[in-house]
């Protein structure tokens, strides 16, 4: 089992809660710069303590994440992270220019000597507002963009593309990916349709903001669909992203998290604007499991409930190790993408050290 560290590059200052897009009237350039430096420092440490991956993500117009273009941040990481794979989890490909995505990921793969993991996501519903696209077309755009990126990576002669949503007359990207035929591709598979698409196309999957029982059900669906398509996913084909905080004792970990909860959390990117979310839901964006998909996004509760629901790994090394084993048994995931649940300076860095030095080595054995 592999360990990954995910840091959203959260803006470490105050901002208006419960809205999206978030007004920037409280924005401080100094705080933003410090936020980036904090993230870089955390990723540097993760690499030093032998995390297998570090991961970045794409979100827009909110202090939840200061990486609207994760490629740019990954570019900086190539100069900081020297051993771990850099996972783009991911690029929201339906709202982007797929050729640009193919080029940027190929650049990163070259800069890292083949250490890129290519996550390709649909993005959260609100992100269709970002670049003024219709969320009803999200899935179809996603599927086409993914195939186009694959072609861009593998075709060595210039070619035109006649898609439904994308049209180009001549494509031949430079640089080319180091990993052949291309970097490993992962996509979200929390919805049944996504699991089926991933299985048909032999792609890895990942879950984020998904309670573990729901993710386990979706992972099982993916494996069954893969079997129908005559292949069997490896554990490493399944990533589970989960919030984490580890301290020297269970009590300290809980106290830290309670303290962190009093800070500006900047959560709810996809749900902060109820008007947008509601309209997006009405377009068919969520697919056939509307209730389940919306439910997972809105799933909240107090800290203890969230730990019990498998939404946070919390406690001492031994406690978290037990929780990880439970997760592994429940869904068979091969990569845990640890999301930092706190930003508490040295205590957060200590959590990274504990995971990297005490937990990750055990994970490699299972």
């Amino acid at each position: 089992m592999k360990s990954a560290l995910f840091c959203t590059s959260r803006y470490l200052g105050p901002a208006k809660p419960g809205v999206w897009p978030v007004p920037a009237d409280t924005y401080s350039t100094d705080i933003a710069e410090r936020s980036y430096q904090t993230t870089l420092e955390q990723f540097r440490l993760a690499d030093e303590v032998n995390f297998d991956w570090v991961t970045v993500a794409e979100h827009h117009f909110a202090p939840f994440s200061l990486t609207p273009n994760p490629m740019v941040f990954a570019g900086a990481l190539t100069q900081v992270v020297k051993k771990a794979k850099i996972a783009l989890l991911g690029a929201s490909i339906p709202i982007l220019n797929p050729i640009r995505v193919a080029e940027e990921m190929a650049m990163l793969d070259t800069l890292t000597g083949g250490r890129i993991v290519a996550g390709m996501l649909r993005g959260t519903g609100n992100e269709y507002v970002t670049y003024n696209l219709n969320p009803a077309e999200s899935r179809a755009r996603f599927e086409e963009a993914l195939q186009l990126i694959r072609y861009a990576w593998t075709q060595t002669q210039p070619f035109a593309w006649q898609g439904r949503f994308f049209q180009y007359r001549s494509i031949c990207i430079w640089p080319r990916p180091v990993q052949q035929p291309h970097p490993p591709i992962y996509m979200s598979a929390s919805s049944p349709e996504s699991g089926e698409f991933a299985a048909r196309n032999k792609l890895g999957i990942g879950f984020a903001f998904t309670p573990s029982p729901q993710a386990a059900t979706a992972a099982d669906h993916y494996r069954k669909q893969a079997k129908l398509n005559d292949w069997e996913p490896k554990p490493e084909d399944i990533i589970f992203r989960i919030a984490v905080h580890v301290a020297d004792t269970d009590e300290q970990a809980l106290a830290d998290l309670e303290e962190a909860a009093r800070q500006p959390a900047h959560l709810g990117v996809s749900t902060a604007n109820r008007a947008v979310e509601s309209v997006v839901a009405g377009t068919g964006y969520y697919g056939r499991d509307v209730e389940g998909q919306r439910g997972r996004l809105f799933a909240r509760g107090d800290l203890k409930q969230r730990v019990a629901n498998g939404q946070i790994l919390l406690g001492s090394v031994e406690t978290v190790w037990k929780q990880i084993q439970d997760l592994k048994n429940m869904m068979g995931c091969g990569v845990l993408d640890f999301t930092l649940a706190t930003q508490l300076g040295s205590r957060t860095l200590h959590a990274i050290e504990l995971i990297g030095e005490k937990i990750a080595p055990r994970m490699r054995e299972i």
């Binding site: 210039p158 593309w161 949503f165 994308f166 007359r169 377009t283 909240r300």
Partner: protein, 327 residues
Amino acid sequence: MARKATKKAAKKAVQKYAKKPAKKIVKKAAKAVKKSAKKVARTVAKAPAKKTTAKKPAARKASNGNGGFKERTVKADGFTIRYAEAGKGDVLISIHGAGGMRISPAHELLAKTYRVIVFEVPGFGTSPANTRSATMAELAASMNKAIAALGIKKFSLMGNSFGAKLVSWMAVQAPDTLQALLLVAPAAIRHDRPRVVANSPEEELKLFHAHPERIARRPAPKKDILDKQQALVRRLIGPPRDAALEDQLKEMKVPTLALFGTVDRVTPSDAAYLYREIIPNCHIGMIYDAAHAIDVDRPEAVSEIVSDFIERQEKFLVTGESGVIHP
């Protein structure tokens, strides 16, 4: 004009496509969410986001099987050759694949802009068995004579699959007559690997069509006709890498566009680079989500790029479409 007409048709089809509705209304997410969402939904209901329709891929109108094409015959090189014709303008000659002559939805779209002539190769359909053409080169010469017999001096030439090999031979024999060469799901240059075989009508449907719902219904050819056609194809198709043809293609300067379906398993797109490497002025087009019957699966996409290429050849690389949203 050509691009405008086909683009409009393509846009319309795309709008019909792709959208799936939420099959059921959201009953509840979390209780708080439900309340909030309902309230918001009421608020935004008066001005909802542009709702896309929920139709399945547009089933193409079956028409009468010939899409307004009129059938005629022409005598050439000792053959009486059937052809179907529609439209006005520059001439586009089309040669069918191993399955025989058919008017495809792409033909119908192209006939809005071009004088489209779809030939039936001697030995296909109800024509007598063709035992006279000893090689593809000979058959190509006969087809070029048929075109000349119609008084056509300059034209674009399109071939599907087996027909792409035939038009490749026609092109190398008479390059000066051509405005553009269009190879659709071409079997002219192939990797040397076992052919994918369908073992049932259902498998065959899936093998040739990514979107069988778009097939216009027409009577299935009779077995004796199919057997006759298959025998002719097997006799003439030649090796996957046909040195005699490739040597001449390397010298041919005709602007060429080779189109591949991204889910075609009969002539997969992984052979595309060979066309580019061998034919000096060849461009490659990937037709997304199309199987071997590209022009049935995505006729709008095919006709748009074909029209653009006929009209502008190499210049088609540079778009002339405006990006202005509001002046």
